[in-house]
Amino acid sequence: MSPLLFLILIPIFGAAFILAGANARFTALVASVTNLLFLVVLLTRYELGGEQVYQFVSSWPIVPSMGISLTLGADGLSLVMLALTVLVTLAAVAVARTPEKNPHWFYASLLFISAGGLGAFASIDLFFFYMFHELALIPTFLLIGIWGSGDRQAAAWKATIYLALGSFVLLLGLIGLYLIQPDGMRTFDLRAISGLAKAGFLPEANWVYLLLLIGFGILVSLFPFHTWAPQAYASAPAPAAMLHAGVLKKFGLYGLIRIAAPILPASVLEFSNLLLVLLIGNILYVGYVTISQRKLDLMLGYSSVMHMGYIFLGFAALNILSLTGACLMLFAHGLSIAALFALSGEIRERTGTLDFSELGGLAKPMPAFGLLFGFAAFAAIGLPGFVGFAGELLVFFGSFVGGDLLMGITETGKEIFQLNNFQIATICAVWGVVISAIYMLRAYRRVFFGPVADRWAALPEISGAPRIAVAALIVVMLVTGFFPGLLIKLIESASIWS
């Protein structure tokens, strides 16, 4: 019996208890704390550099004739993502405000998203990998549509139809990946498929890669398929935005790094120029769109779209530096955007508005709130000391010499001075660092600095569970930022390299 199954079942049982009538908030907190403790145990039990790449493996055949089985297992990268999921879940449940209508369904939905994310990151079988993600989309739809704010139903429908479309394309891609395997050996088991790819049994299949890229790309809001994200995050209740932007959205990039990079590297390189153009769209175009946002929630939504560009860059360059950086950024961005959405939700609870023109000077009545927001904002723009900086740095270093799986240092210096496409993309991406400083500091300045309006002069300070939760996220980012080696060792033990 795999301990990973418990990790997935705990939130599901928690949700079941809640729906059966247990105290919603308390049960959800207990479930997420239990999961966190459970994950810590898993991390200590994980053998770094052990013989098995995937550990805690167990498998239950579901449709043997098609090679579908519920196979759970975790390598270093899965563990990093599981840790992210568990941390963000706990923070999301902690900052959640119990709503008036259907509080039981609210907390149960949060736990279901968590279970879906955990299941997807712990699955080795592609069928269940896909299915768990779909499982998490339904509660996201409910959370936005029922407990959201603003034009919540339009946002919920738009996001859901968009994501369903992406999932559909992704499903086609996964079926394609199944079909290109030689007859009689077909399977959904990722380990077996990687083995086939390494042994040269997989034909070149660019169409499969393109389907995967577009499918996953839509899920991660790759330019130009990004317009659902800011609207959905702006309308979603804070915990839902935290869980989706922090965890679920990472599913697409995780899938690309996990599936496309080791199995279809030739296709990735063949279409690298296409991907570079799109991801520069994410970084520069969406970056400038972010600058002109007038509301904090939309700004954060767009900024999360923009940051995906860096991770795509890490994936596109396809070498050990850039992929490691991309994995670090998955973790870093998940935590920082979760903290930011939590804080913006808290502001909305207090003031009822997130419009820059109405806010200002909030650091005066709420100094601790301002400090936490400052930490989170600087973490998001990749300040050294936070793990995001290490991630961005590795992505830049990797992509600057990019395009070659497990490359040696290219002989750039010895040739005539000319830049290849990866280097041009890297230069654009480094400019993105300036852009993100502009919009983040502007937002910070407009919300927290300047003279304070009378009506905000007596806002209550952040306290209790939200304060602890956000502070915990920041502490994790700081610790992993000072010692990124902790995460890098885990990521290096992942299966994508072997």
Binding site: K158, Y162, P224, F225, H226, T227, W228, Y285, V286, Y288, V289, I291, S292, Q293, I320, L321, T324, G361, A363, K364, F378, L383, P384, G385, F389, A390, L393, L394, F396, F397, F400, G408, I409, T410, T412, G413, K414, E415, I416, F417, T426, I427, V430, W431, V433, V434, A437, I438, L441, R442, R445, F448, F449, G450, P451, V452, P484, G485, I488, E492
Partner: protein, 601 residues
């Protein structure tokens, strides 16, 4: 205690103090101040101790990031003459300024926030000084940006302070953009980030000099941002919104010096790229001249000093590009740190005495009310303006001499600048301390408390003597150019006398500014151009893109498919006639048709 561990103690004591203040500072004012000053003093004492040790060139090292053998980012320290001298300068100035802050910040709010920021600032700067590789330097480079953001924005309730802090960070990030790219370029070519190894491999670039030139210019962008060279100098005068001791620290030792120090650190690499050095020389020369022009017409006591800092930094950058060793510029950095710190602390003393009034035309005749501050200011002014015998005279004239030899045009430009320096410096002194009191506050000004005057006294001594060879040779070993034009030194003396004299004539007894040059007073309109560009080009462009995102991208990707789906439904719904029997008929007809097709084959 050994030379291996002491640098680590020097570096991390301020960070520990900052973290401690963050947690306990709000409970007790003396505790937070004590922690910060204690940390600075500890670092200072240890730095002096280290300075006189025959330390090994390396220190303990650990790998911050290590990925196979492709990329190693160590955190390690380089202990050589350059870094030891810089350590001493930074920690000593910091200790003095921290102590002075006790008096200056006495009545201000955000006391613990201020001291935590100061300690963090010191930590970041020490990291730059000690870094033995590019990436470690870049990390602390960014942290210096963060600490300056915190300190400049100390009075965050004021719009101007909040904007200045934001501007400082963003402008520095623009410079860092180039810096990081330069690091990437060098790393991609050599595979190493260590200063020592890079310097050893400069020869690899002989086949491809353009590459090295581009890389060096990109790295110089970091200096342009951090040391406030043209065209990224705009943040520095605005940073005067911070508390005055912060300005003092920022201008003397901790932030702007970092850019010049970095150039000195990689000097052997720059030497291999002569075209890059030309660019550096021109930027430095133009900055030094233009900033001096702007300084002549400022009315805010701190802004005058800010522009003079930019101008002096221009000298240092020009010196890097002209002299055969970086020690020449480091020498000026050292003397400048002493007298500029002194001048800012004097300004702070004046500002406290004037109840936080900064306009020089509100002051006047302060020499009677604040005699001690007056004397200290005169000492600083003599040093800054290059009066023969004061510290600035030795270091600045050395740079000018090298510049005249190597880049004659820029050199003579910097000679003219020396005259301007004397003019604007003594304009400040005459207007503030002589003449008549022009305001009620000036009539009731008072001398500052002892805790502020002692630092002034301490700094006045090096401001005068730091340039003499017996001091210089403890720290640096500079060389003089051989073929200096004989006229140069007499011209410089004449310009000093002329500048001072002109200032006396114009401002010795003026009630308002007799000269009005809007071009200089408005800083050559550079700030306005930037303001216009940010507002119209950047924000306007962003607004257009935002509009496009909503009405073009969203339209094409979401609205058009959605409308297409709706149109298909619209066509198909004409089949929905609502009569069950018709549906049954269609169904039956369909079955018959399919059967016919299947059978007829």
């Amino acid at each position: 205690m050994s030379t291996l561990t002491v640098p680590w103690i020097i570096l991390f004591t301020p960070l520990a103090a900052a973290a401690a203040i963050l947690f306990v500072g709000k409970f007790s004012k003396p505790l937070s101040a004590g922690l910060a000053i204690g940390a600075a003093a500890t670092s200072c004492v240890l730095s002096w101790w280290l300075f006189f040790q025959e330390a090994p060139a390396t220190s303990l090292q650990f790998h911050w990031i290590q990925i196979t053998d492709l990329l190693q980012i160590p955190i390690g320290m380089v202990i050589d003459g350059l870094s030891k001298a810089m350590l001493v300068i930074v920690t000593t100035i910091a200790t003095i300024v921290f102590t002075y802050s006790l008096g200056y910040m006495k009545t201000e709010e955000g006391y613990w926030r201020y001291f935590a920021g100061l300690a963090l600032f010191l930590f970041s700067m020490l990291g730059i000084v000690l870094a033995d590789n590019f990436l470690m330097m870049f990390i602390f480079w960014e942290l210096v940006g963060l600490s300056s953001y915190i300190l400049i924005g100390h009075y965050f309730k004021k719009d101007s302070a909040a904007d200045a802090a934001k501007q400082a960070f963003i402008v520095n990030r623009v410079g860092d953009f180039g810096f990081l790219l330069g690091i990437l370029f060098l790393w991609a070519a050599t595979g190493t980030l260590m200063f020592g190894e890079l310097i050893g491999r400069v020869g690899d670039f002989t086949l491809n000099p353009i590459y090295l030139t581009v890389a060096c210019i990109l790295i110089f962008c970091g200096t342009v941002g951090k040391s406030a060279q043209m065209p990224l100098h705009v943040w520095l005068p605005n940073s005067m919104e911070g508390p005055t001791p912060v300005s003092s620290l920022l201008h003397a030792a901790t932030m702007v010096a970092a850019g010049v120090y970095m150039l000195a650190r990689i000097f052997p690499i720059l030497e291999a790229a002569p075209h890059a050095l030309d660019v550096i020389a021109w930027i430095g020369g133009i900055t030094c001249f233009a900033a001096a022009l702007m300084a002549t017409q400022q009315d805010d006591i701190k802004r005058i000093l800010a522009y003079s800092t930019i101008s002096q930094l221009g000298y240092m950058v020009l010196g890097i590009a002209s002299a055969p060793t970086a020690e020449v510029s480091m020498f000026h950095l050292f003397t400048h740190a002493c007298f500029k710190c002194l001048l800012f602390l004097c300004a702070g003393s004046v500002i406290v005495g004037m109840h936080h009034e900064q306009g020089i035309w509100k002051m006047g005749a302060l020499k009677n009310k604040m005699p001690f501050t007056f004397l200290a200011t005169v000492a600083g002014a003599l040093a800054l303006s290059g009066c023969p015998g004061a510290s600035g005279y030795f270091s600045k004239d050395l740079i000018i001499a090298w510049a005249v030899v190597e880049h004659p045009f820029l050199g003579w430009l910097s000679v003219v600048t020396a005259g301007l320096t004397a003019f604007y410096t003594f304009r400040l002194v005459f207007v503030v301390f002589l003449g008549k009191p022009r305001d009620e506050a000036a009539k009731h000004a008072h001398e500052s408390p002892l805790v502020m005057l002692v630092p002034l006294g301490l700094l006045s001594i090096p401001a005068i003597i730091a340039g003499y060879p017996f001091v210089e040779h403890i720290f640096f070993h500079t060389t003089e150019p051989e073929h200096v034009p004989h006229l140069l030194h007499p011209v410089l003396w004449a310009l000093f006398a002329g500048g001072t004299g002109l200032a006396w004539l114009l401002y010795g007894n003026a009630d308002k500014d007799p000269v009005r040059i809007p071009l200089f007073a408005n800083r050559l309109y550079i700030d306005d151009v930037y303001g216009w560009a940010v507002k119209n080009v950047q924000d306007g462009g962003a607004a257009v893109l935002s509009w496009a995102d909503r009405w073009v991208v969203d339209l094409l990707v979401v609205q058009v498919p959605s409308k297409l789906a709706w149109a298909c439904g619209f066509v198909l719904r004409f089949l929905q006639i609502g009569n069950i029997q018709a549906y049954a008929f269609f169904f039956g007809a369909g079955v018959v048709g399919i059967l016919y097709l299947l059978i007829s084959r």
